[in-house]
């Protein structure tokens, strides 16, 4: 009995974790992000990435997109706990595998290399909507939009072309088709 001296019960069986994208519409007021993020850290939920910005200036609404992992029970709790927060209007939850939802992340890559490598670097990015934002003889800043794991892979593969710095956003999400999440 490893934990027999504990005043608390022993952890039960662990269930499988799934990745979910949680979208939260909140009043854009002081401390609201701290409330949402504090709820995650306080209750031991994961945040893999986070994106937040005001989306409706008239109504003063911000949209927070959180990528998280958890068992179905935990993900349920996350949604229910979020809904209890006073400034939260609505909460949407998508599984990463969901075909009806588009997920995108953006990344900025800075390359410092000779021109030959810089050209190769740009070519390597071609599947991910590359945009050159800045260019000098020795360097290039390229913006791409892609899925999380694609960017992970890219940032690994591109080091050979002189990748020196990566800056990336959290994922944002939107449903496909004409339906709007209510």
């Amino acid at each position: 009995m490893a934990n027999s001296k504990s005043a608390y019960s022993i952890a039960g069986k662990k269930q499988k974790n799934d990745t979910h994208i949680i979208v939260v519409w909140v009043d854009n007021e002081a401390g609201v992000l701290a409330r949402v993020v504090g709820l995650f850290s306080g209750r031991g939920y994961n945040i893999e990435s986070l994106a937040v910005a005001e989306v409706d200036q008239k109504e003063n609404i911000s949209r927070i997109t959180i990528v998280t992992t958890g068992t179905p029970q935990v993900v349920d709790q996350i949604k229910l706990q979020l809904k209890k927060l006073v400034p939260v209007h609505k909460v949407a939850d998508f599984k990463r595998e969901d075909k009806n939802v588009i997920f995108k992340e953006m990344a900025l890559f800075k390359f410092v290399a000779n021109s030959e490598k810089l050209i190769k670097a740009f070519k390597a990015c071609k599947n991910f909507n590359p945009v050159v934002l800045d260019e000098t003889k020795k360097s290039k800043v390229i913006q791409i939009t892609a899925l999380r794991r694609e960017i992970d892979k890219m940032s690994k593969n591109l080091t050979k072309f002189g990748l020196v710095s990566v800056s990336r956003t959290g994922a944002v999400a939107m449903t496909r088709g004409s339906d709007v999440f209510k």
Binding site: S4, S6, S9, G12, G31, G38, K84
Partner: protein, 588 residues
């Protein structure tokens, strides 16, 4: 030109409009403008505590015993941080509190000013919501919203942080009309189908049990009445959590006593073996469930709760009914009466085997203890206290530890709102200030804090408050010189290594009572106990009662950590008859 009011005046205007009659507080630099206005608002009485934690617990006691929100007013910095324990306590036990804190002037926020702290940051995880008022024009709206959030849905604490300059600024105030809004963010969104499903389960069950909690208290006295009606209409057994005690009369035959870690043998075994569990306003807390994987393995579980996030949090349930207990029970009773007349009679046969089984468990008499003629057994002290006070509609508060469990086991509650205890957070030092709050709300009633000598020392300074306001609270200390529950765990789990659980220097509580200007009584032996208790009850002043009890007594029955309900440790009487097997011994 309409009249302009200062922020401080608006605070009181709002409190007046919310029907607040008492606030508990402690002045300080950042709330002085509010304190300055106090004299102009006669309908609001301020109770000066001795420590802000005491203000919080007093407000909790006030709220729990009345059903109205408790209000506390404290200063910035240390005033706010001292209130954090009480706010967390209220958050865990769903007690509606409105905490008003002063803050340094807006231009000094963020400069590490004198007595500045990030109050809203610190209290964010222990309140339902909090506000920092940055604009005088928002103040009234925020104040009213604060009351709404605290009292609707699952109740809880809120905090309004008001910088000092805002308290001086002036603006208009529009009188507030209270709109009856019951549920705030959570809604009564159960359907008739839910109720029909519940009735279906009820009529099929052969081994049913009601498992009720603090939600019934929070739903108001009417909910307790409806609960009784439902329990009688079904003939089912009922058990209650610590917080739910009093919703159903403890001396009724259908009541199995409290369940959980120190619950009765019959309640826990019934929970383990039942085929239908109807949870009404409880939250499957880990002190209740024991080992989750083996929690009531064969039952269908119904969960009635106002808070959707309570459902499936710890235990997966088969039928969830989200709503206010009162309205759910009303619909259930209506449907039951319509579809199954005389259900308890027709159903009697179906559950008769179940009741026989329960009677067998009951015959174990798991709350029994070995009496003594030399020393006062703590259980005996509570039993006597109960017998001598049961006709007086007493209000009982407790601290946290063995005495708390003994009180829950041996004091029989028959009405809701009579039992104030810190369950979720387990805050030692809760009971004395809570008793102050209860006595403020019910000046003519008997209020007893069943205490331990270690707990009560944590907030002892509030005796001074009790004396100041002539509050005849009775502090009934079961004094065993140990932090009893700690000692018990050390005895059972840590090879009797009583590390730091003995208090080698305790004050003389009788002299201390006298020093505070109240009355001290000491009972040393069982034969004088009754007389001393009667002396206490006949004293119309605050009393500290130092009851010297058996120092070695443990609180049984007990479910050891990580064990399911059917593996209970019973008291010494049973252990003598039936030794714990070798395996059982290693398990604890």
């Amino acid at each position: 030109m309409p009249k302009l009011y200062s922020g401080a005046e608006i605070v009181f205007k709002c409190l007046e409009d919310q029907g607040v009659s008492h606030i508990f507080g402690y002045p300080g630099g950042a709330v002085l403008p509010i304190y300055d206005e106090l004299k102009n608002f006669n309908s609001i009485k301020h109770i000066l505590v001795r420590h802000e934690q005491g203000a919080g617990h007093a407000a909790e006691g006030y709220a729990r015993s009345t059903g109205k929100p408790g209000v506390l007013l404290v200063t910035s910095g240390p005033g706010a941080t001292n209130a954090v324990t009480a706010l967390t306590d209220a958050y865990m036990d769903s007690v509606p509190l409105v905490c008003i804190t002063g803050q340094v002037p807006t231009h000094l926020i963020g400069t590490d000013a004198f007595q500045e702290c990030d109050t809203t940051g610190i209290t964010r995880p222990c309140t339902k919501h909090n506000w920092l008022v940055k604009d005088i024009n928002d103040l009234a709206e925020i104040m009213h919203k604060a009351f709404e959030v605290a009292t609707t849905g699952r109740p809880g604490p809120v905090l309004v942080d008001i910088p000092k300059d805002i308290q001086f600024q002036k603006t208009k105030y529009r009188n507030y009309k209270k709109v009856k809004k019951l549920n705030g963010k959570s809604h009564d969104n159960f359907s008739q189908k839910n109720i029909d499903d519940l009735i279906g389960l009820i009529s099929k069950a052969k081994k049913p049990i009601f498992y009720t909690g603090g939600g019934v208290v929070n739903s108001g006295p009417k909910a307790s009445e409806l609960l009784r009606e439902l329990v009688y209409a079904t003939g089912f057994p009922i058990t209650s959590t610590l917080q739910g005690l009093g919703c159903f009369p403890a001396d009724d035959n259908q009541f199995l006593g409290m369940l959980g870690m120190h619950g009765t043998y019959e309640a826990n075994n019934a929970m383990y073996s039942c085929d239908l569990m109807i949870n009404i306003g409880a939250r499957f807390d880990d002190r209740i469930t024991g080992k989750i994987d083996e929690f009531s393995p064969k039952s269908k579980k119904v969960h009635i709760d106002i808070d959707p996030s309570s459902i499936n949090k710890n235990v997966k349930v088969d039928l969830a009914i989200v709503g206010d207990i009162k309205s759910v029970l009303t619909s259930t009773l209506k449907t039951l009466k319509k579809s199954k007349k005389n259900f308890s009679k027709s159903n009697k046969h179906q559950i008769s085997n179940w009741w026989e089984k329960i009677q067998k468990w009951r015959s174990k008499r798991s709350l029994d203890y070995i009496g003594s003629e030399e020393t006062i057994k703590p259980q005996y002290a509570i039993e006597r206290l109960y017998e001598l006070t049961k006709d007086r509609d007493a209000y009982i508060t407790t601290e946290v530890g063995q005495h708390q469990m003994w009180a829950a086991q041996h004091y029989k509650f028959n009405k809701p709102n009579r039992w104030m205890t810190s369950g979720g957070l387990g805050t030692m030092g809760y009971g004395l200030p809570a008793a102050v709050g209860v006595q403020i709300a019910h000046p003519k009633k008997l209020v007893v804090d069943i205490a331990g000598e270690a707990s009560v020392l944590m907030t002892m300074q509030e005796m001074s408050t009790a004396v100041q306001y002539n509050l005849p609270i009775k502090i009934f200390i079961l004094n065993n010189e140990y932090m009893g529950m700690v000692r018990q765990w050390q005895e059972l789990l840590h090879d009797k290594n009583y590390s730091e659980s003995y208090t080698a220097a305790l004050p003389d509580f009788v002299k201390m009572a006298e020093a505070y200007g109240c009355v001290g009584i000491r009972a040393k032996s069982p034969e004088e106990l009754d007389d001393k208790i009667i002396e206490m009850l006949n004293t119309d002043r605050p009393v500290i009662f130092d009851c010297l009890v058996d120092k070695q007594e443990n609180c049984f029955p007990m479910i050891p950590s990580g064990k399911p309900h059917n593996q209970m440790l019973l008291g010494p009487k049973d252990q003598k008859d039936k030794k714990i097997t070798g395996k059982g011994r290693t398990l604890v």
